[in-house]
């Protein structure tokens, strides 16, 4: 195999430096995953809350729900961390809090000896939403900063166009 020429090594280093300095970009897929997770959690906890209000003890434990939320949460965290372009985790406390909420809810719900009240599901849903709101704010902030950057870029290009037409 031929050794890489010095010129290409410099080009490669330049590309790596540029990508390392790139701002974190808004990720529409991560945003969609946050929305889906929020819908999933709200829908299920609300259903259990209503079930309990109608008939105490009727909110049947569903391990599939807890497995699905855990999986979706892991995928979301991976997606957001991968998009940050850094080794530093994004909002690690928010993710660990949501994992703890899920684990504790599952432990309480699956316990045969304890009855879980509808009010429990109501409060837990509210707590999930405080964490999901933080993630949504994070993505919206990225979206807004991206829009601001493209607007200033467009302004600069428009200004550049005016300058060049003046000189013609």
């Amino acid at each position: 195999m031929r050794p890489m020429s010095t010129k290409w090594l410099w080009v490669l280093c330049g590309c790596m430096a540029v990508s390392a300095c790139q701002a974190i970009l808004y990720d529409a897929q991560a945003d969609q995953q946050i929305t889906s997770l929020g819908q999933e959690v709200n829908q299920q906890l609300l259903t259990w809350e209503f079930d309990e209000a109608r008939q105490p003890g009727s909110a049947a434990y569903d391990p599939k729900y807890y497995a699905k939320v855990e999986s979706d949460l892991t995928m979301l965290q991976m997606r957001i961390n991968a998009g940050s372009g850094s080794n530093e985790a994004v909002l690690p406390d928010v993710f660990s809090t949501m994992q703890k909420l899920l684990d504790d809810e599952q432990a309480a719900h699956s316990s045969q000896s304890r009855k879980v009240d509808g009010a429990f599901f109501h409060v837990e849903r509210g707590l999930w939403n405080t964490q999901l709101a933080t993630l949504t704010s994070y993505e919206l902030a990225l979206k807004q900063s991206g829009q601001a950057q493209s607007a200033s870029g467009a302004d600069a290009r428009a200004k550049g166009g005016q300058e060049s037409s003046k000189t013609k």
Binding site: V94, T97, D104, A108, R114, E124, G126, L127, Q131, A133
Partner: protein, 106 residues
Amino acid sequence: MAVDWDSVRDDAVSAAKQALGGGWNAVSGGVTAQIAALVGLANYIEDHRASISDAEYTMLMQHQKMCLQSVLTGYKQISYAVAKNVVSQVVNVLLEAIPGLLGLAA
């Protein structure tokens, strides 16, 4: 005696504002909304105290603290130590208003 939850919310926001000092302006909107939401949930928990078991009650109160702290550390401007202090101040306000709150003091 009935608890005036609006006052509790306002006092909790004031306590957070004081604990955050100069950093308050940058985060005031979001933090105020989060504290209001959490005080609202504390109110709901107290209203349904009779139907919630002690174990769940303690868990919910601990979750409240944990959620507020993680929301605060989500702000770049708020360090872990400051977030813990804000949570402690907000909890003090709640304990003053409702001395019987289990879980929060732990």
